[in-house]
Amino acid sequence: MEEIYVKFVSQKISKTRWRPLPPGSLQTVETFATESWDNEESYVSPWSIGDFGNLDSDGGFEGDHQLLCDIRHHGDVMDLQFFDQERIVTASSTGYVTVFLHHPNNQTLSVNQQWTTAHYHPGPGSPSHSGAPCAAVVCNNPEIVTVGEHGRINLFKADHKEAIRTIDNADSSTFHAVTFLQTPEILTVNSIGQLKTWNFRQQGNEPSHILSLTSDRVPLHCHVVATGGQDGILSIWDVRQGTMPVSLLKAHEAEMWEPTVLRLKYFLSENVLTRFLFQELGLSEGRTLSAP
């Protein structure tokens, strides 16, 4: 039976991320990072599980997760992503986007780079005082894309001081999340239930495609995205075709915040897709995705 280890950390954690492995590595992942929010002080903390030579008879990890180090963060951490093996990017409620560098030899974190004017409300007053929360961040080395609650999309490159591309008023409501479909395309989700795809190679500030939630269904095709809604309903979308979700599944009691792209190369046929989806989401076998 699998063991579950519980550790109480005295902070509200909203996101955890596994550290990516070096390409071609066969190890299992050992390190993850957490971030906290809704407290007087917020922290970004990498943790390590097991290892240190402790393996029990089954070859599994023994013992607790260990906090490697932590660093104070300015504002609530809204989102967190591993940029590469050593760097972590965070999106803050103050509008800052920060890159932290993890030094494994002395187990410390330091600020490697920070964009302080990534997200702010234009208008009277300096930008630092009217920062808009940065809702989500996604990385694809060397690019970093952030979206803000005030409808702005930024494209950054690590080690570049200014944003490479900024789209203002990309959305009239608020962005909730962003994900890469395939470079250079990204997909954003907003608070009124619309998915928009954006292509950075194209000029202009318009999305290439807008999908929104209505009632009809469309047959399943190639590129599939799953998004979660406030009422716990999971929607499956086909980004290439149609403007409506393919299927709706009741998955959770509460809100789900992030879209996930289910890459086509993982499955071959509709049946395989169905089973894979269920394993991924932990749903019961009874649900089906129907194609009319």
């Binding site: 902070q11 509200k12 007087e40 208008g123 929360p133 409808g151």
Partner: protein
């Protein structure tokens, strides 16, 4: 108003000179603001430099402790489980469930104690080490009191069993004996060890008959035997080995009256306390609390605990549990609610003062039938919302409880924030969520004004996808439909666009002020090569135009700009009249002719 039981504690605020200047203060939900005023206490009004700071004073600092946070979180889960215990359960099964809940609470206290003890040992500076240690002793006292209450009030052990429980109780809290016995039993010749006899005496209560002892003549042995026969004086002689009066009490009961009945306990308790203290010292708050428990005076226990402890956690949870045991009479307090509810409300309010723990407070309010809901309504509106994610969490809590007023209020706050940041689309979606027709009208007006100024719409992704939400307010419906008209025009669906435009005016959803714009929009449709508006429709348009022009204000003294505006108006009207007339002519002819000709 009841009299105070004791003098209130004085807190000195560094930097504020209360002897020289008057202070002013204001209460907040969990804190107090204090500062010095410039009013001098003395008669002469000299300008004395006063302290330039405003201080925030908090009574409840426990809420900010990292380790105690675990206590609050875990006990929250136990509290919820207790509320959901089936009310139908009676008798033994109910009692065993309640005892289990009590033990759960106690194990959480012990876990925190352990953790804090570790931190105290590892503390680098002695001051914080001392602070942690004192926190540990407070937690230990809490667990001691709770344990006793569990035995006397919840377990309600009858005579005989009662003493066994009390023995366990003392054993759990007298650690010295355990460390001593490890010492002694580990040595080579236990009976010659100095502490052996002390252990025998002190350890009577915990190890009973398990220690091996030789039957040599020995003054110590005589003492032992005397004690076993119930000689209290002999027991008192060994006072140093007994850590406190309740250890003495239980030991005494073990040998003089092992089948003591619960109602007789308080005689023994009072006399044990008096004998043990021997008039040298006065009882401490903990002693009074324990005495009150032995006297089965629950209200006194709770009252004393409330005074002694800095945080409502203990009394709130204990009272709630005792209330579930149906032990509290519902005597109403001055403010309308009963004691259980009063304490839970105080505790939950304290949680709301914390930036993170407010979520726990919500559940406590849910289980306060009289004033819980109204308290929650007041508190939840005051949670600072700096991100939309947090706002959505709060809104969900409100919506789950059908707190529509609060939903509307929170959405309005967010909508106003959005308007101030010029995010009209966001403002509109918040007012739709709040079902706030008035605000939706306001925002729609702003949109329409922007359109008139700039000639194009903003936030099309929202307006084009309003769906049924469009019906919220007339102005919003107009905005949506007007945009639809533009879309149809762009898609060259002229006939549909034309009827829509007309219906906007005839149905009355278009505000009068906008009619001129609508009629001007009709111009290109009238000027098209093919006839779009039918004769009937043209008559209606003409009607609208007449309606509009007949209500023009009387010309008075006007300046050049106004005259110019009116000239433009007149020109527009004339152009419209001409276009309408021409269209009418073409329409009549087309409708009068046969098809194909």
């Amino acid at each position: 108003m009841e009299e105070l039981d004791g003098e209130p504690a004085v807190t000195v605020i560094p930097g504020v000179n209360s002897k020289k200047n008057q202070m002013c203060f204001d209460w907040g939900p969990g804190e107090m603001l204090v500062c010095e005023t410039s009013f001098s206490k003395k008669e002469k009004s000299e300008m004395v430099p006063s302290c330039p700071f405003i201080y925030i004073i908090r009574k409840d600092v426990d809420v900010y402790s990292q380790i105690l946070r675990k206590l609050f979180n875990e006990s929250h889960g136990i509290f919820l489980g207790l509320q959901r215990i089936d009310e139908e359960l009676t008798g033994k099964s109910r009692k065993s469930q309640l005892v289990r809940v009590s033990k759960n609470y106690r194990s959480v206290i012990r876990a925190c104690m352990e953790e804090m003890h570790q931190v105290a040992i590892a503390a680098k500076d002695p001051a914080s080490g001392r602070q942690f240690s004192s926190q540990v002793s407070i937690l230990s006292a809490m667990e001691l009191i709770w344990n006793l209450c569990e035995i006397l009030f919840i377990e309600v052990a009858p005579a005989g069993h009662l003493l066994l429980h009390l023995l366990d109780w003392v054993r759990l809290h007298v650690c010295e004996v355990d460390s001593l016995s490890a010492d002694v039993l580990g040595s080579e010749n236990p009976s010659n060890h100095d502490s052996f006899w002390n252990l025998g005496l002190g350890g009577m209560t915990s190890h009973g008959w398990s220690l091996p002892y030789t039957f040599a003549t020995n003054p110590h042995l005589e003492s032992l035997l005397k004690i076993m026969l119930g000689d209290e004086a002999a027991l008192l002689e060994q006072k140093e080995l007994l850590s406190n009066w309740y250890h003495f009490l239980v030991t005494r009961l073990l040998y003089s009256n092992p089948t003591v009945k619960p109602i007789d306990l308080h005689y023994y308790a009072q006399s044990s306390l008096d004998l043990f203290l021997g008039g040298e010292s006065s009882p401490e708050p903990l002693d009074n609390i324990l005495l009150a428990a032995f006297e089965f005076d629950i209200h006194q226990v709770i009252k004393e605990c409330s005074i002694a402890l800095s945080n409502w956690w203990f009394v709130a949870h204990l009272t709630d549990l005792l209330d579930h045991c149906k032990l509290l009479q519902s005597h109403n307090l001055y403010f309308g609610s009963n004691m259980r509810e009063f304490l839970l409300l105080e505790y939950a309010s304290g949680l709301f003062a914390h930036p993170s723990l407010w979520q726990l407070g919500v559940d406590y309010f849910d289980y306060c039938p009289k004033l819980g809901r109204v308290s929650l309504e007041l508190h939840i509106e005051r949670i600072p919302l700096n991100t939309e994610q947090k706002a959505l969490k709060v809104l969900r809590i409100c919506e789950q409880r059908q707190m529509t007023e609060q939903v509307r209020s929170i959405c309005k706050i967010l909508a106003m924030k959005a308007v101030r940041n010029n995010r009209l689309g966001s403002a509109l979606s918040w007012s739709i969520r709040a079902k706030d027709a008035a605000f939706a009208t306001l925002v729609s007006d702003r949109f329409l004004r922007d359109y008139c100024e700039r000639g194009c719409f903003s936030d099309l992704d929202l307006i084009d996808n309003l769906g049924p939400a469009m019906m919220l307010s007339d102005r919003l419906t107009f905005l949506g439909k007007y945009r639809e008209f533009h879309r149809m025009y762009g898609e060259k669906r002229f006939a549909d666009a034309a009827s829509l435009l007309l219906s906007l005016m005839t149905s009355g959803i278009a505000p009068r002020s906008f009619w001129m714009t609508l009629l001007t929009d009709a111009l290109p449709l009238l000027e098209q090569k093919q006839v779009i508006f039918s004769a009937e429709q043209t008559y209606e348009l003409m009607q609208c135009l007449e309606d509009l022009t007949s209500r023009r204000p009387v010309r008075g003294e006007s300046d050049i700009q106004q005259l110019q505006d009116e000239d433009i108006e007149t020109t527009k009207v004339e152009m419209l009249r001409l276009a309408l007339a021409r269209n009418l002519a073409r329409a009549i002819i087309r409708e009068g002719s046969l098809e194909g000709s």
